[in-house]
C-alpha cells in the first residue's frame, strides 16, 4: 500500500465523509475515490429507516393535539381552583386578604418530577435526532450523509419555529433528492409545509385574490426573497425588489391545510387558489401566465436552471468541502457539471470527488461541531446518551436543526475557530468514558494514521492517562480539520 493511497483514504474519510471507523481507513485504501463514488451509487443511499416515525403533517397534528389537550387541562384546573375558592369564601374560611392573594398569585405550576416522561415535542425531536445520528455513526464513509447535512443546511428551517417538522422535513424533502436533480429538491423544499411555515408563506395572500379582497390582506415576501437570495441565485445576483415582489405574488396560495378543524387532516401542503394573486407575473424578465400552482413551479424550474444558481451552488459546495477560497478550476468544473447535467446532484458530487484540487493535502477547514462530534463517536464504541450528544453540539454553537437564521450555519472557517476552546471541554468529557483497556495509539492509527504529525503522535503517547490521550487525539489538528 503506497503512503499516498493511505493519505487519500484518510482525506476521503475526513474531508468528504464523517471520519474513520475502526476499519474504514484500510477498507477503502485500495481505491479511496472509488469508494466515495460507490457510496453515491448505492441504492437508497440517502434514506434512513423511518417506518416508525410520523410524517410532517402527522407530527404537526400530534403536537397540536398535545398542546390543545394541555391547554384544556390547565383550563379545567383553573376552573376547579375558582370553584374551591368560591366555596371557601362562602364558608368564610378565608380572610379577604388571603382570598386576594390567592387570586393574584395562583399557585406556581409544580416542577415536573425528576422521572417525568419526556414530553411529546421533545420526544418527537429525539426520535428524529436518533435516526440522524445513527445514520452518521453507521455510515461506511458518510459522504452521502455529509451531502444530506450540506443540503439540509442550505435549505434550512428551524426547530425554534417548527419543532414538529424539522426531522420529517429532512427525510421528505432533502434525503430523496440529495442524489437527484437540484430542481426536484428545490420544488420539494419550497412546497414543503415546513418551509412554507418557516418562511411565513402560509399567510401570504394575493391582494387581488378573493381572500385578499375580502380580508383586505396582502403578500409576505419572505419566502420569495430567501429562495432568490439563499436557495438559488445567491445574493446580489441581479434580481431586483420588483422581482421579489412579483415572485411573492406568484407564490401566494402556497400554504398548508390548517391544523385546527379536521383532526385527521391538517399540516399538508395545499395550493389555495382563493389566496392566489390572479394574473400574469414577470419575474427576472420572463412572463409567467397565471396557471395556478404551475405558475410557481415554472418560476422555480427556471431558477433551478439559472446560470447564477449553478455558480452559487458550485462555489458553496467547494467552500464547504475544500476551502473558504476554493481553487477556481474546481468551482468552474462543478458549475459546468451542474449546468451540463441539468442540476444532477449526484454528477456534481462525483465531479467534486474526481477533481484533483479537492484532494490537496492542505486541510484548511475545521470540521463543523456536528461533524466533529460524529467523527468522534465513530472512532470507538463509546456512546454517551443522545441528550448529551445533542447538548454538546449546541454548546459548540451548532444546535441540531436550529440555525440562527434562514441562511443556516456559516460555512467559513473563522466562524468556528472561536469555539475550539469549548471543544476541548467536550473532548475531555467524552474521553472520560474511554475504557482503561483502550490503546490510544491504536485509536490514533485508526483515526488519523497516515496524516498524523510526529508532534501529535508524541503528545498522545506522552499523555498522563488514556483519557487525556484520547482527548488530545480528538483535539489534534489532524482530527479537527477536514
Amino acid at each position: 500500500m503506497t503512503n499516498s493511497r493511505m493519505v487519500d483514504a484518510a482525506l476521503a474519510l475526513h474531508r468528504f465523509g464523517l471520519g474513520p471507523t475502526g476499519s474504514s481507513l484500510k477498507a477503502i485504501s485500495a481505491d479511496p475515490r472509488g469508494a466515495l463514488l460507490a457510496e453515491l451509487d448505492r441504492s437508497n443511499a440517502a434514506s434512513v429507516p423511518a417506518a416508525n416515525l410520523p410524517n410532517s403533517s402527522q407530527a404537526a397534528r400530534a403536537l397540536f393535539d398535545f398542546r390543545a389537550e394541555r391547554a384544556a387541562k390547565e383550563k379545567m384546573a383553573q376552573r376547579e381552583r375558582k370553584a374551591a375558592e368560591a366555596q371557601r369564601m362562602a364558608q368564610g374560611m378565608a380572610s379577604d386578604d388571603n382570598a386576594m392573594a390567592a387570586r393574584d398569585n395562583p399557585p406556581a405550576a409544580a416542577a415536573p418530577p425528576a422521572n417525568a416522561p419526556i414530553e411529546l415535542p421533545r420526544q418527537l425531536f429525539l426520535n428524529e435526532a436518533k435516526v440522524r445520528i445513527d445514520a452518521a455513526t453507521g455510515a461506511e464513509i458518510g459522504f452521502v450523509e455529509r451531502l444530506v447535512w450540506f443540503w439540509s443546511n442550505h435549505f434550512c428551517i428551524s426547530a425554534e419555529k417548527i419543532v414538529s417538522m424539522v426531522g420529517p422535513y429532512e427525510r421528505e424533502a432533502i434525503r430523496p433528492n440529495v442524489l437527484g436533480r437540484f430542481g426536484d429538491m428545490l420544488l420539494a423544499v419550497e412546497s414543503h409545509p415546513a418551509m412554507i411555515f418557516y418562511l411565513d408563506n402560509i399567510e401570504s395572500i394575493g391582494p387581488n385574490s378573493i381572500a385578499g379582497l375580502n380580508l383586505d390582506k396582502g403578500i409576505n415576501e419572505n419566502l420569495a426573497r430567501e429562495i432568490l437570495e439563499l436557495h438559488t441565485l445567491g445574493v446580489r445576483a441581479g434580481y431586483t425588489q420588483t422581482d421579489v415582489t412579483r415572485f411573492a405574488k406568484v407564490l401566494t396560495g402556497w400554504t398548508w391545510l390548517p391544523l385546527r378543524g379536521n383532526p385527521d387532516h391538517g399540516g399538508e401542503f395545499v395550493f389555495n387558489k382563493r389566496m392566489h394573486e390572479p394574473g400574469e407575473q414577470i419575474v427576472l424578465g420572463k412572463s409567467y401566465p397565471d396557471i395556478g400552482l404551475e405558475q410557481g413551479r415554472a418560476v422555480l424550474d427556471d431558477l433551478a436552471r439559472h446560470p447564477a444558481t449553478a455558480k452559487h451552488i458550485a462555489a458553496k459546495l467547494a467552500r464547504h468541502f475544500v476551502s473558504d477560497e476554493p481553487p477556481q478550476p474546481l468551482v468552474d468544473r462543478l458549475e459546468a457539471t451542474f449546468t451540463e447535467t441539468g442540476g444532477d446532484l449526484k454528477e456534481v458530487a462525483k465531479a467534486l470527488v474526481k477533481s484533483p484540487e479537492a484532494w490537496a493535502p492542505e486541510r484548511r477547514k475545521l470540521k463543523r461541531p456536528s461533524e466533529w462530534v460524529a467523527s468522534g463517536l465513530r472512532l470507538t464504541s463509546i456512546r454517551p446518551p443522545l441528550g448529551r450528544i445533542l447538548q454538546a453540539q449546541a454548546q459548540l454553537g451548532e444546535p441540531l436543526w436550529r440555525p440562527p437564521a434562514p441562511n443556516g450555519f456559516p460555512e467559513d472557517e473563522m466562524a468556528w475557530a472561536d469555539g475550539v476552546a469549548r471543544r476541548l471541554d467536550v473532548a475531555n468529557e467524552f474521553a472520560r468514558l474511554l475504557p482503561d483497556e483502550s490503546d490510544p495509539l491504536a485509536i490514533l492509527d485508526t483515526a488519523i494514521g497516515p496524516l498524523a504529525s510526529n508532534e501529535t503522535r508524541r503528545a498522545v503517547a506522552r499523555a498522563e492517562s488514556r483519557q487525556q490521550a484520547f482527548a488530545l487525539l480528538l483535539m489534534s489538528p489532524e482530527f479537527l480539520r477536514r
Binding site: 475550539v420 482503561d436 506522552r462 488514556r466
Partner: protein, 410 residues
Amino acid sequence: MHLSSRRELLLGSGALFAWACLPKLARAEGRDPRLLTIILRGALDGLATVAPVGDPDWVALRGDHALLLDGKTPALKLDSFFALHPAMRNLHRLFGAKQALVVHAAASPYRERSHFDGQDVLESGIERPGAAASGWLNRAFAALAPGGRAAARTGGGLGVGPVMPLVIRGTAPVLTWSPTRVLPASDDTMARLLDLYQHTDPALARALDGGARTAQIARTDGMDKPILGPQPVGLDQIRAYFTEAAGTAARFLARDDGPRVGALALDGWDTHFNEGIANGRLSQLLGALDGAIGAIEKNLASAWKDTVVVLVTEFGRTAKINGTEGTDHGTATVALMFGGALDGGRVIADWPGLKTANLFEGRDLAPTTDLRAVLKGVLRDHLRVDTAALSNTVFPGSADVKPIDGLLTS
C-alpha cells in the same frame, strides 16, 4: 448495577447487595473492614509530597524547589527525616493521630516510563502491561468468596467514575457511581494542546488561547475580582470533583449494607512544566487531595475505625527538576495510607539516598519497597485475603514479595 445519583444512595432503603464476597474471617474477629483505593494518575512527585528533609543531599538535589521545615512555605514535620507537603494538613493531623502512614521509595514492578503501561501494571497487579482485563482489588475481593465463587447474583465492590478503574474490574460484581459534576479539561491538558498547536497549527493555537482566556474571564464572578488571577483554570471544579468523588465513595463504604472495597482515580499529576511545588499547581492539587481526605474521614463516620484508604500512583518523577521547572517520568515515589484501622504515624522507607550514584539509572529515586508488599500486607491483615491467593491470583508470580507486617492495628 449503576447508581445514577447520590439520592439513591442516601435515600434508598434496603440492602444494596445480597453479599456474595464478605470479609468473613475479619468479621469473625468482630471487624467490618473497608478498603478504598485511590489511583493518582499521571505519576505523583513523591519527593515533593513527602520531602526527605533529613537527607544531606536533598537541598543540593532540588535547590529552590526543595521543601524544607524552615522554608518560605514550611513543610509539616513527620519524623526526624521526612516532612509532608504543607498543603496536606488533614493528612498531617491524621499522621499525628497515628492514623496515617507513608511508604517511601516504593514502586510497582514496572520499570519503563509510559503512563498507560505503568497504570496497567499498577492496577492489574500483573507485571506485564496490557495483560489483564481485571484488577488486583477485584481479584482480592473475589478471593474472599468461598471456593472462589465470587460472581454471585449481586454485590461486590464500588467503582467511582464514568469508567470503572481497571483496579476494581473483574469477575466480582462492582457497583458503579459517577459524580454528577463534570470535570473541565485541566490546565495541563490545555497546556499540552497549546504546545501541540504552536508546533503544528498556529491558527488553532491562537483560537485556543483566545477562547481559553474568554472562558477564564467568564468564570470570574465580578469585575472587582482580578480577571486573570494566578489561580489555574478550573481549580475550584477540581477541588469540588475530588471531594465529591472521594466523599461519596466514603458514604457508600460507610453504609451497613454498602460495598466494602472501592476504587477511584484522580488525574492531573503529570507535572512536566511549572510543577508549582511550593504554591503552584501541584500544591493546589495536593490541597484538593487533602480536602478529599477530609471528606472521606468525615463521611465514613463510625466506619472510620474499620477503614484503610491507600493512595497509589503508577510511578514517580525524576529526582531533579527539569529545564521547564517541572519533573519528568521517574520510578519510585510515595504510597500514602490513612484510616482508623491503620497503625500509623510512621514513614516506612528503606531510604536509598539521593546521591547521583544512588539514583535509579542516575535520575530517579530508586525503588526499595515493592508496592505489592504494601498492598499484600493490607489485603492480608485488613481483609484477611489468603496469602496463597495473594501470591497466585491477586498479584500473580509475586511469591517472593513478602507482605509487610504490622500495618494494621491489631
